[in-house]
Symmetry: C2
Subunit: 320 residues, 2 copies
DNA sequence: CTGTTTTACGTTACGGGTAACTTAGCGCTT
DNA sequence: AAGCGCTAAGTTACCCGTAACGTAAAACAG
């Protein structure tokens, strides 16, 4: 007991005793078992469960980096879960991670399985849903409105005179942020009298190569497409390479637009038309909201991190 | 007690009782507290601490993805620690994570602070050191020999006739894998009678922009450099853009070589000269070794994952 | 020097799950 | 009907850190 007091610097011990305790700690290489403290219910753990779809997508890696750095600065640790964009994986992960009595959870996406939702509600711990902004979150939400983001791109492209446009992305079992961008995009394009031809690559990840062959398939099916909107920048780069390889002049013959504004976009001599979101900041903000709730500070339950359309030079410009 | 037996499917209960227990579990939304089990020492936790320098570097994100997916398939979770390439951060993180009684640890790098090494030795849990292969690991090691990787690139470049070469990287307080690549590279180049001019960007991360301005500084100081080796591909892309922007013809006027073979390299119409390592596989292998040790299977303590030099087209080729 | 307060340290109990042991209850045998 | 074996279920103790409480000794006041 005295040792416990010394280690927690709680007071109530003499300097002599303190020295003796610390000497023994050093001699034995003693490390306190934090499990016991949390288990006894004296305090909550310093775990925060963080579910992320995958890390192959650079944007999620940035989000995670933002989360873990910020949590770390408060002495908290991330318990990672790569849920591969499936609600089933997420549910299993939630069940497991809740059994470890985490201080809170940060989840990517607003859609959860019914059972997962039950568990989350019953858990009584702070929960931050990130990525797509959720006006009625389980607890807290931070992200952007993906529908609006897609809508803005659709409006931008139609304002440049594009009318027959294509979309290349991957297919998903459940609705997600990319689906919402597509919905917003279609609404804007169709509202302006245009039409969107969709090409969804089945059973594939939203990376460079599917962007390449998805473009090939799209153009084979419909060769009057003037401009293509991609699920993300990686796919857009793939499409760009396909078009350039086929001798098409971008943006004269065909326009290319992505989403996410990857840092590597600056490698290119011309800027990819895209949509910028500060992914690192999104992660940091999620962790800050979590910490605010844990320390009892007031927090707004919704935080729109905002996005910025990058006009770029892979679509026509207004004067052309 | 009976409920505990039912939930663990241990036997020793009637079907009727089982049904009653499960009904109550469902009604109450009961989730077992795994902390109690681990705390009581009946079994080890399913946490594995994973320290990674940062996730901004795509290669580490891939390693982590490999680790977490594989651990997840065994029902284990990663507790993340972003140690920012500093031994001090790593030591603090190790202390914290050990107090959570993890099943094992996966650490990036072979260098640890003396106190960290003590704690690791005393912990008695499996430890996998990844990234640079360590012939005398604390416990297990998986990675590549970075010295050899740098050496091979040096030999390759000198075999193409390059003699005045440059290196652009970041500076580090402590030796790390990049330092070893540089050492190997210098040894090969100097062994072949050439010389290496180094440009280390201080206090910066090994990303695109430092590659850009590091190249500018290097060429300003020494303009007869025929070829530049970069700490990684991101920096090499930055250098490439600087050179192209200055009107230099790559590879006629200057050669560019990176390390890591980023997937995005295929965006370019010509392949970056680099060194390929299967980062995902490295992570998976680390997790497999961890699991093998935890389940008592025999494991070799060292595993060389290997690398492959990518000749690419950003350096002269042999016939030129 | 007595009575009161303060300081330093010790003791007990608790948290939730489970190993190890005990008890109750049932069916079967002879 | 007594005895045995088996199954189902209950009881006790433990893991380790700490809140709450207890106690002895020192410090202080009057």
């Amino acid at each position: 007991m005295t040792a416990s007091r010394v280690l927690r610097e709680e007071g109530g011990y003499s300097e002599k005793t303190r020295a003796k305790v610390l000497a023994q700690v050093d001699a034995l290489g003693y490390l306190p078992n934090r499990l016991a403290t949390v288990f006894a219910g004296d305090q909550s753990s310093t775990f925060v469960g963080v579910s992320i779809p995958d890390l192959g997508n650079e944007v999620f890696a940035q989000v995670l980096e933002g989360i873990d750095r910020k949590l770390g600065s408060f002495g908290y640790q991330s318990v990672l879960g790569l849920t591969q964009h499936t609600l089933h994986e997420e549910e299993n992960w939630i069940r497991t991670v809740l059994s470890w009595q985490p201080a809170g959870l940060i989840l990517t996406g607003r859609y959860h399985s019914p059972r997962a939702t039950d568990m989350l509600r019953n858990s009584g711990i702070p929960i931050v849903e990130i990525w797509d902004l959720n006006s009625s979150p389980l607890d807290m939400s931070v992200g952007i409105n993906h529908f609006d983001s897609g809508f803005d791109m659709g409006r931008y492209l139609t304002s440049l005179g594009y009318s027959d446009v294509g979309y290349v992305g991957t297919s998903h079992d459940t609705a997600n942020a990319a689906t919402e961008r597509l919905n917003g995009f279609c609404k804007a394009v169709e509202g302006a009298g245009g039409a969107v031809v969709k090409q969804l690559c089945l059973h594939d990840t939203a990376t460079f190569y599917p962007g390449f062959y998805g473009t090939e398939q799209l153009l084979a099916a419909k060769n009057n497409v003037e401009c293509i909107y991609y699920q993300n920048d990686a796919m857009a780069f793939g499409g760009l390479q396909y078009c350039v390889g086929k001798g098409l002049n971008v943006p004269i013959d065909i326009g290319i637009a992505g989403w996410g504004d990857l840092p590597i976009a600056s490698v290119m001599n011309r800027r990819l038309t895209s949509c910028h979101v500060s992914h690192l900041k999104l992660g940091q903000r999620a962790a800050e909201m979590m910490m605010a709730r844990l320390t009892g500070e007031p927090v707004n339950s919704c935080h729109d991190i905002g996005f910025r359309l990058i006009p770029g030079s892979t679509v026509r410009n207004n004067d052309s």
